[in-house]
């Protein structure tokens, strides 16, 4: 990669974020027409990455990037091969159309600028995710998509359902991101590389590692939550609370495909093991069936499509893990085909909603005359989704059946799942594309007419693309699907399937699917009722489980809070001092560092002992005091004793200060206490007294023992010597203590003065604030 392309590629990754910055201002300026200039951003990105097509089609892997934190081997680096390129093109290509569509859909919305900003940020995150080479970058972008999708899903934040859906998506996918992080770290630990491009050659090591299974579960925890695999599928349909452009974007080509991308990316490294080939198809197959059945149940156009997205994601995961060359090719084909038709159909659903005011399929009909262009787009997309020739979806479905068909029990089981799932999706596709348009005209809340060009360009282009790729399949295979399949498989692979039906097992299975689909379509109302009964019989679902978990979380947090923060001061104090006592007494006990037994010094002057004794008496009097005067006087006694001790031990400055302070304290206390009506006694029952006393004595003992141990050790006089040596010679002061205060540690003293001043101000304000917030009055 030349420096020029490297810089341009970096710019391509930054461009959506830059666009997000200017989008609100631009929208204020141009109104909904800001969509046109803003759509140039994804278009430019699309064209830039299209330039890599030739290289990638030759089987080359383009890497590039910049060092980020070289000391930790972290880089901002990208990896563009068939897999990332396919995703990059889908994200930027569909993104262009989505921006245009959003311009029409949210026309006149007061937060349209914000919406453009969110969707561009999301696009940037998604582009970064699929092109990341370094693990850290992958994780950062992964979580960025979770955060930006939270913003998008919760765009309509005034509605509770919208907030719930946004939070749900964030918690499920963001929580899955944490699994991914752990998985990536473990992968780093096992292989000692931090880049996906280097990881590819460590497949054997990873698979043989004793950490393979935990690694697999962590990675799947990330991928399954993001890609809405059962039982984490519930967030996806709920995310339909978002405006339709978001649904069309997040749930066709981007967000939900991120998990599939991750699995495909790691398939060459982690795939091929029995665990991989059991867990992935099993969960994928289950998700396919659950999603398809739940889709039949819905009457809301968007929800029907959402559940078929769940089903399609299941199908993709199933194919990725199935473990054959054809399965990989089928996954590649279906990935692209699904992005195209699902994006188109979502936009059609939004268009219908926008023009008629309802998305309920039972309240729609006969729109073909009013909305012919929309009808055409819907029909083309539905034909691809149903998998009929010569559409792209047909190729994908043929390849799926080629991959799955076989004689073993496993093959039969998964083929059956695929036929049932595809058949149900067939029915849903035509229900979405035909029911609203055919039949008798039904009165709708709004009078329907064809939407503006901004709204139908997107679905039309995507739907037509599905047809064009189906017809010119050879070109598409050479440029897109073969490199994509090679990247998933980790070895060169060519996709050859074309739209011309070949007689064989696959065609037979296709025909079976179509027949099953037509039957379901014809009895859709009955099928819906049956699916409804089934779900109602089961009753509990993970969606309700999510609410229960969230409520439980709040309750648990509250009860922990009530236990540790009961709002009673004595609990806090008791806990604090119990910890202090333990901290003082446990370490010497553990390390055997008790002080030596002390000896009573022989020559203590009587007056020193007398002062100490007096201090103890003063303390005892404070403890026993039952009226305020006794307490104040007793407090004074011990304070003056301390001052005397300082005087006796060669600290006249301290003694002087202590006398001053003690006098002041007693005076202030006496003034204040005469105004307080004190409880005369300390009402502690014996049951309270004993633990309190135990803690108090333990603290006292702890400090005494600590001090004894310290004084028994060697004394380092370096600092004392320094101050003694220099206080006269450098600082020109004879009183060493004073010199330290005002000179050597002058800044400390400044801090001390500041504390006194702040305290003074605080005291003043506390005294002046009266009840009810009124200032002034008697202090």
């Amino acid at each position: 990669m030349t420096p020029d392309t490297m810089g341009l590629t970096f710019l391509a990754f930054c461009l959506p974020f830059l666009g997000a910055l200017v989008a609100p201002a631009l929208t204020r300026l141009l109104g909904h027409n800001a969509a046109w200039p803003l759509a140039l951003i994804p278009l430019a990105v699309f064209l830039h990455f299209l330039g890599f097509n030739a290289e990638v089609a030759r089987g080359e892997i383009v890497t590039g990037g910049y060092a980020w934190v070289p000391s930790y081997n972290v880089s901002f680096s990208w990896l563009i091969d068939g897999l990332s390129l396919a995703f990059l093109l889908l994200i930027s290509g569909i993104g262009t159309l989505i921006v245009l569509y959003a311009g029409g859909y949210l026309k006149g919305h007061r937060h349209q600028g914000r919406f453009f900003s969110f969707i561009l940020m999301f696009m940037g995150s998604m582009l970064g995710l699929v092109a990341s080479d370094s693990f850290l970058m992958l994780f950062v972008f992964w979580e960025l998509t979770s955060i930006t999708s939270f913003l998008l899903i919760g765009f309509d934040h005034a509605r509770e359902a919208s907030r719930r859906a946004a939070l749900q998506a964030l918690i499920v996918t963001g929580g899955g991101g944490l699994f991914l992080l752990a998985g990536l770290l473990l992968l780093w630990n096992v292989t000692d590389v931090t880049q996906l491009s280097l990881l590819m050659s460590f497949g054997a090591e990873v698979r043989a590692s004793p950490f393979y299974l935990p690694l697999l579960f962590l990675i799947l925890g990330g991928a399954f939550t993001k890609s809405a695999q059962f039982p984490f599928h519930f967030w996806l349909p709920n995310a339909m609370e978002a405006p339709t452009p978001v649904s069309a974007y997040l749930h066709s080509a981007t967000m939900v495909k991120a998990g599939v991308y991750l699995l495909m990316r790691l398939n060459p490294v982690m795939g091929g093991t029995p665990a991989w080939e059991t867990i992935l198809p099993a969960f994928g197959g289950l998700t396919l069936l659950v999603g398809a059945v739940l889709a039949i149940r819905q009457t809301d156009l968007k929800l029907m499509l959402a559940y078929t997205t769940v089903a399609s994601l299941g199908l993709l995961v199933m194919l990725t893990g199935f473990g054959s060359e054809y399965a990989v090719a089928a996954a590649a084909l279906y990935l692209v085909a699904h992005s195209l038709f699902k994006g188109a159909l979502f936009m059609v659903a939004g268009l219908i909603d926008h023009e008629t005011g309802t998305r309920d399929i039972t309240k729609l009909g006969g729109l073909r005359g009013a909305m012919p262009v929309t009808f055409l787009a819907a029909l083309l997309a539905a034909l691809s989704m149903a998998g009929l020739p010569p559409f792209f979806g047909f190729l994908a479905k043929e390849e799926i059946y080629v991959a799955l068909a076989g004689g073993s029990l496993r093959a039969i089981a998964f083929t059956a799942a695929a036929v049932i799932g595809n058949g149900l999706m067939f029915a849903v596709a035509f229900a979405v594309a035909l029911k609203p348009f055919l039949g008798k005209r039904v009165e709708t809340p709004k009078h329907p007419h064809e939407g503006p060009a901004l709204l139908w360009i997107g679905p039309m282009l995507l739907a037509v693309k599905g047809l064009v790729i189906g017809i010119f399949s050879a070109v598409a295979h050479a440029l897109l699907t073969s490199p994509l399949a090679s990247a998933i498989a980790g070895k060169p692979q060519t996709v050859t399937i074309s739209a011309i039906p070949h007689v064989g097992a696959a065609l037979l299975l296709s025909a079976l699917t179509v027949a099953f689909g037509i039957v379901i379509f014809l009895v859709l109302d009955k099928a819906r009722a049956a699916a409804n009964r089934l779900v109602e019989d089961i009753g509990w679902g993970p969606d309700r489980g999510f609410d229960q978990v969230m409520r439980g979380l709040v309750r648990a947090a509250v009860s922990v809070n009530r236990l540790t923060q009961p709002g009673r001061m004595e609990v806090y104090m008791t806990a604090t001092f119990a910890v202090v006592a333990l901290a003082l007494l446990v370490p010497p006990a553990v390390y055997g560092e008790w002080p030596r037994a002390p000896v009573w010094p022989a020559n203590i002057p009587f007056h020193e002992l007398a002062v100490m004794l007096l201090a103890v008496l003063g303390i005892g009097a404070v403890l026993a005091a039952n009226n305020r005067l006794t307490a104040i006087v007793a407090l004074g006694i011990q304070g003056f004793c301390v001052a005397l001790l300082f005087l006796l031990f060669g600290a006249p400055d301290l003694a002087f200060t202590q006398f001053m302070i003690e006098t002041l304290s007693v005076v202030i206390l006496a003034l204040a206490m005469t105004r307080l009506k004190l409880t005369p006694r300390d009402h502690r029952s014996l049951r309270e007294k004993i633990p309190d006393a135990v803690i108090a004595i333990a603290c006292g003992l702890g400090f005494a023992l600590y001090l004894l141990r310290v004084t028994q050790g060697r004394f380092d006089t370096a600092l004392t010597d320094f101050f003694n040596l220099y206080s006269k010679t450098i600082a020109h002061g004879a009183n060493v203590v004073n010199v330290i205060i005002v000179d050597f540690r002058g800044t400390d003293t400044l801090g001390e003065i500041a504390v006194v001043m702040v305290t003074g101000l605080a005291i003043l304000s506390i005294i002046r604030i009266r009840k009810g917030g009124k200032a002034g009055g008697e202090a």
């Binding site: 000896v599 400055d653 202030i668 603290c699 206080s727 330290i740 540690r745």
Partner: protein
């Protein structure tokens, strides 16, 4: 020389903690005063105790001529005395105002910030 002082300091700490474990804020306040003195003495004793000779350099000399008391803990304690006094004054005013507004000096009865039976926070979205 340290042993009697050590015992005195132990008594200071034990009494201070016992007072601070009381429900009544005025007692807690007395405990804080005792704790301040106990900590000061602890600092003092940590720097070893020498009698009578203050750390003052006699006139005509550049360094102390005899063994003097350790000046460093004295400087620290000097700061600490002032700080603990302002702390004491602040707490006193706080207790006084709390008593004026809430009519009690019992810490357990002061439930304005942490009300008893606080309702569950909203469990919705």
């Amino acid at each position: 020389m340290e042993l009697p002082l050590v015992l005195l300091i132990g008594v200071f700490f034990a009494a201070a903690v016992y007072l601070m474990l009381s429900k009544f804020l005025v007692r807690v306040l007395l405990g804080v005063v005792l704790l301040g003195n106990g900590v000061n003495l602890l600092l003092f004793a940590n720097g070893r105790v020498l009698r009578e000779v203050p750390p003052i350099i006699p006139a005509g000399h550049d360094v102390p001529v005899t063994l003097t008391a350790n000046p460093l803990p004295q400087a620290l304690i000097l700061t600490a005395i002032v700080i603990s006094f302002s702390f004491f004054a602040f707490l006193l005013v706080l207790v006084y105002r709390a008593y004026q507004d809430l009519g009690t000096d019992n810490g357990n009865e002061m439930r304005v910030a942490e009300p008893e039976n606080d309702p569950l926070p909203p469990t919705g979205y």
